[in-house]
């Protein structure tokens, strides 16, 4: 594949954003933490090979929604979910669903880089190893290399694969975490404010990376920064006080939003 066709694909994707097939569907999703209700009947769809940005003021439920998509909320005591979320039309909260498989298919990158206290190599090999994705050492080497390549970290890390992952800089650590998520070949990658702990240069690199990853992965990103949402995403969803206010193409959202609250938020009137 050459650069031309790459760009063409991208363009085509950009154009038909509203027509891309649905990867995940959230229907009437509500989340309760004990007695407190954190999400109110959210209906939000995630489209294939698209970057969907979730924006809104802090505490609006955007991270909570993100964590329902790979059932990370299961690990929190007292958290309860109603409604329905499907991945490729299969309910992910169905009792027959295996969370381990679900999380392998829907990977996640966190706000703060959280590499394991292991070597760079082992950090990336961890996922493929537990899922049994590599039959041989050579397979594993290949997975590690391609994941680092995809995360744009290969050139920086290839000579220090056996050094601890915690020794990298913050931006490198975050790209290591992305590489770690990519290594399991997920279909969807969830990113929870992945750049909030990074400096502008590292942020730019991660954003560029997100842009590239879109070709192969479906991405949902929570972000605090409007500019970032505008830069990286094709679809944007605006949350406020646990409600989904508006979901739209990013271009439209930032130029001509349907909802007054979106307008206010984008103009910086609250948040």
């Amino acid at each position: 594949m050459n650069m031309m066709s790459e760009a063409a694909v991208e363009k085509a994707l950009d154009k038909n954003m509203s027509d891309a097939p649905l990867k995940m569907i959230g229907k009437d999703v509500s989340v309760y933490y004990g007695e407190k209700r954190a999400l109110f009947d959210v209906n939000l769809n995630v489209r294939k090979n698209t970057v969907t940005a979730l924006i809104g003021p802090s505490g609006c439920g955007k991270s909570t929604f993100l964590r329902t998509l790979n059932r990370m909320n299961d690990t929190i005591d007292g958290c309860r979910i109603t409604g329905k979320i499907t991945l490729d039309n299969a309910d992910i909260y169905d009792p027959s669903v295996d969370v381990v498989e679900l999380r392998a298919r829907v990977g996640m990158v966190f706000q703060k880089p959280n590499p394991f206290p292991k070597s760079i190599y082992e950090n990336i090999a961890y996922g493929p190893r537990i899922h049994g994705l590599a039959k041989t050492k050579a397979d594993m080497d290949r997975i590690v290399e391609s994941s680092l390549q995809r995360a744009g970290l290969w050139n920086e890390a290839k000579d220090r694969l056996q050094e601890p992952g915690t020794g990298l800089s913050g931006g490198q650590q975050q790209r290591l975490c992305i590489a770690r998520a990519v290594a399991v070949s997920p279909e969807v990658i969830l990113m929870d404010e992945p750049c909030s702990a990074l400096d502008p240069i590292a942020t730019a690199k991660v954003e560029e990376l997100i842009h590239e990853l879109r070709t192969n992965f479906t991405i949902v990103i929570v972000t605090h920064s409007m500019q970032q949402a505008a830069r990286v995403s094709q679809r944007t969803a605006m949350f406020h006080l646990g409600n989904l206010v508006e979901e739209n193409d990013t271009d439209k959202m930032f130029t001509n939003p349907d909802d007054q609250r979106t307008q206010d938020y984008i103009m910086g009137r609250f948040g």
């Binding site: 990370m72 959280n114 394991f116 537990i130 975490c177 770690r180 998520a181 399991v184």
Partner: protein
């Protein structure tokens, strides 16, 4: 006598405080201008001046009185200047026995005279002490009362005394350590003048059964520490084999798997194991565990000693479980939540997250805890004194009896303690070894745990 003196000082301090307080009030009422300290501080100041120097004098006196009296009595006995230290201490204890009226046989006239001398000196010393303490208290009270005045900074003076007391108290920690080191080194040095250092350190035989008295029949005595140390480490190793997996696994279950309510009940129950006195474990080991192991051994066709290393070690291991469990618990709790989530988000099961992420991350904390537990096992005394053997043996069979450093210390010192034969002194040499080994373990452990805390 000293009890009455302390009561007297307390009373004197109290009345002087009252006197100082009221005198300060009187002065302040008449004083023009600003007064520095409230009357109560003047009262406290007088009380401190009255009681503290006198009390210190009393303590010093009590510490030195017996050795000075002994010296005076001994120098009064003809021919005593030719005796060595141990002979004179035996003579002195005889004199003391006679003086207190415990006659086993008719004492020699010299001893009898010395006993009378001893009694009269003790009487004189008691009167002198009372007089000295009273004079010191009076002088202190006089000065304390004299300085009362509206400009006198009584509060500063009181606070200075309090600060000095607090400084002394914190220095006491160092004094205790120095006391331990000096007493052990001093007696151990004595021991090494009788038994060569190299023989102690590298000897393979430990048979301290040498004659206590000339008419006793006993072996030559051998003081090689290796088999004793070996026994200590064999029993500690058994204890750790029991305690480390049990402690870590129970911590894993309680922190990661169990319901909070289960944890709230079970954790204090586990802590009870650490609160049970060790003498209870020792009795239990002898009464229940050792016979059970012996029966089991016989049933399986092994010869098991009634005080096998396995029984003592296993019981000691159970005692240490809560120790390792709670330190591992802390170590797991210190691993950031993000680490767990990172693993779950990759589709790892709970077990995989624990084994491959949490355990490596918490390892330094756990290792620190295990080292502290090992130090505790090495220094544990009562269980082994009651349940382990007395004969030092180099054996790898856990069903055999071995002895430990602490067992030897206790058996060498129990009952008799004259500081002149190698048997008694050997206990201090062993104590020194024990102190050094546990010190090293503690320092490494504390360092590891602290480094680990800094990391997260």
């Amino acid at each position: 006598m000293s009890g009455y003196l302390i009561a007297f000082l307390a009373l004197a301090a109290l009345s002087m405080a009252y006197l100082g307080n009221s005198r300060a009030k009187a002065t302040h009422n008449g004083a023009a201008g600003k007064i520095h300290s409230r009357p109560i501080y003047h009262g406290l100041n007088v009380a401190i001046w009255t009681a503290v120097p006198a009390f210190v004098l009393l303590l010093v006196w009590l510490v030195f009185q017996s050795s000075i009296v002994n010296h005076l009595v001994l120098s009064g006995i003809p021919g005593s200047e030719n005796l060595d230290a141990s002979a004179s201490s035996i003579l002195m204890s005889e004199v003391r026995q006679v003086a207190s009226g415990n006659l086993f046989k008719e004492p020699s006239p010299e001893v009898k005279a010395a006993a009378d001398h001893f009694k009269s000196l003790q009487g004189i010393a008691a009167y002198l002490m009372a007089a000295a303490v009273a004079v010191a208290a009076a002088i202190g009270a006089f000065f304390g009362l004299k300085v009362i005045g509206s400009r006198y900074r009584a509060r500063h003076s009181v606070e200075l005394s309090v600060t000095l007391f607090m400084m002394f108290s914190s220095l006491l920690a160092i004094l205790i350590t120095l006391g331990i080191v000096f007493s052990l080194v001093f007696e151990a040095f004595h021991f090494f003048t009788k038994v060569p250092f190299t023989e102690f350190l590298f000897g393979l035989r430990w048979e301290p059964q040498i004659a206590m008295r000339a008419d006793q029949v006993a072996g030559q005595g051998a003081f090689g520490v290796i088999p004793v140390l070996y026994g200590t480490f064999l029993i500690s190793a058994i204890a750790m084999i029991v305690a480390v997996p049990t402690g870590i696994l129970s911590a894993i279950f309680l922190t990661e798997y169990s319901h909070p309510r289960f944890r709230a009940v079970v954790k204090p129950l586990l802590e009870i194991l650490a609160g049970v006195p060790t003498v209870v474990y020792g009795f239990f080991a002898v009464l229940t565990v050792a016979p059970a192991i012996r029966d089991l051994g016989i049933a399986l066709g092994f010869e098991a000693s009634p005080n096998s290393a396995l029984a003592a070690g296993a019981v000691m291991g159970v005692m240490i479980i809560p120790f390792i469990s709670s330190l591992s618990d802390d170590a797991f709790a210190a691993v950031p939540r993000a680490m767990r989530e990172g693993s779950y988000a990759l589709g790892a099961t709970k077990g995989e997250t624990i084994r491959k992420v949490l355990l490596p991350a918490a390892l330094p904390g756990i290792v620190g805890g295990v080292l502290l537990a090992l130090s505790r096992a090495v220094g544990e005394t009562m269980i082994v004194v009651m349940a382990a053997g007395l004969i030092a043996k180099l054996t790898v069979n856990p069903l055999d009896a071995v002895t430990t450093v602490t067992v030897q210390i206790v058996t060498l010192l129990i009952g008799d303690a004259e500081f002149d034969n190698p048997k008694t002194l050997a206990a201090f040499a062993l104590g020194l070894v024990l102190f050094i080994v546990t010190l090293i373990l503690n320092l490494i452990a504390l360092h590891t745990v602290r480094k680990y805390r800094e990391k997260y």
